[in-house]
Symmetry: C2
Subunit: 245 residues, 2 copies
DNA sequence: GCCTATTTGTTCGTATGTATC
DNA sequence: CGATACATACGAACAAATAGG
């Protein structure tokens, strides 16, 4: 695919790296490079625009920042896949959302431990503060790309051992089923957004500082009694939250 | 206030700029520099850690990205004031949500013009592409602090002149009422998040690159026929979206 | 498994532009 | 106006990760 090779406008107020970022973005949206495809090496792009490699790197960093490309040391720079629609409704199942988009869902347990309920968490779960909770830290992927990391809190002793069940099944829904909860619904959701910390970014396999959507939710049994508090961090440029009434 | 001056660990796998970012963040959270305070010049920080100024700039860029500091050309780099998150409810109108929280709501029309419907917009509004739409650009404040900026599209000729009505009333709900739409409902919502552009940040009176929540919504008459497409950008530091079933 | 070429990541040095005080 | 401080850009070198022979 051919791309524009017009010279940059130098000394006209718009920094070279910004112009390069714009031109590269146009190339991508116009289909010169498809999703998943590899961009030319930085050195080649630098030559194309007649600038130093640093200037190209500044432009690529801006595009990476916005989730348009992703660079991997030793491999190259690749066009990111467009965000996956993630529906949130009364019953939200991660695996359903992913498979419906034609991608393969997987979930892994990173770790689990027992923690004391904070005041906020106790109120949400309708229990006493300092009661014990089972904390699950999980990561969810679509086609092996991490979409979200979650911290889930469950009351004890009722859900003791659910961490092992989850590790086996890879699905919270199936783990619940084995603990006597055939169905559950979402009763409260809060959504915010911020930059990711270094650790969060590492788990999500994205550069530090990229944006995460923070989704706090409370799930309950169909009877209405709350059984789960979750904070999920979604890589904001891999997921688009869709609300369905 | 004194700060650590321990040397960096060089050649140990962790890049110098990451160590510097961590140390500076520790300095800030430990109170060495309070909110609003000015950091030492990049040259001084470079000297403190025994690195080139570029390395310090890389670290500061990472912190600025996360909203911890803000650099202004010619002035210096400053510690950002901690964000004050603000809840907003989904089922209510903007002005209702703000006044219910005991704050004063205001809406201003930044500009309006006539545009052609894109393919996406036409599909959402159930009209033909390239039909004319009225575009409203608005800003919404609570107690004079901008919470969001919006781009609203309305079909023409039905809503011709609604821009003037909105400018007078400062409320879309009231403007609708004067155009024969006593009530409307949200039929589709998509939520994503990203860094703000320079212009967006300026309108929201926040530093460039800070996170905005992007809320795309389609509103319809109670009969179900869509009458409005809106993209609202919320300053993520000032708003937390609350979903209520 | 090793070696090598390729590609991105980091760091330094240097210079100039531009905004603020 | 000059001094200060951040913004942009170039050149050079080496490190680190990856892919392929």
């Amino acid at each position: 695919m051919t791309v524009e090779t017009l010279p940059l406008e130098r000394g006209k107020g718009l920094a070279a790296w910004r112009q390069i970022a714009e031109r590269l973005e146009t190339d991508i949206t116009s289909g010169a490079w498809a999703a998943g495809e590899q961009l030319p090496p930085e050195s080649a792009i630098a030559e194309r625009f007649g600038v130093n490699r640093h200037t190209v790197r500044r432009a690529l960093a801006a595009l990476a920042q916005r989730g348009i490309v992703r660079a991997t040391q030793g491999r190259g720079t690749f066009v990111e896949t467009p965000p996956l629609p993630y529906p949130i409704r009364q019953r939200t199942r991660f695996s359903e959302a992913v498979t419906q988009a034609g991608r393969e869902a997987s979930g892994d347990l990173i770790g689990s431990r027992i923690v004391e309920a904070s005041e906020r968490e106790a109120r949400a779960l309708a229990i006493e503060p300092s009661e014990n909770l089972l904390e699950l830290r999980t990561i969810h992927r679509a086609d092996n790309t991490p979409l979200s990391i979650s911290r889930t809190l469950l009351p004890l002793p009722r859900f003791a051992g659910l961490d092992r069940t989850f590790a086996q099944t890879g699905s919270l829904t199936r783990a619940y089923a084995k603990h006597g909860v055939p169905d559950y619904v979402r009763i409260a959701t809060r959504i915010s957004a911020r930059g990711a910390s270094t650790e969060e970014a590492a788990l999500l396999e994205m550069p530090a500082g990229r944006v995460v959507l923070v989704v706090d939710s409370v799930n309950a049994e169909p009877t209405g009694s709350p059984i789960q508090v979750t904070r999920a961090l979604f890589a904001a440029d891999r997921v688009e939250i869709v609300l369905e009434p």
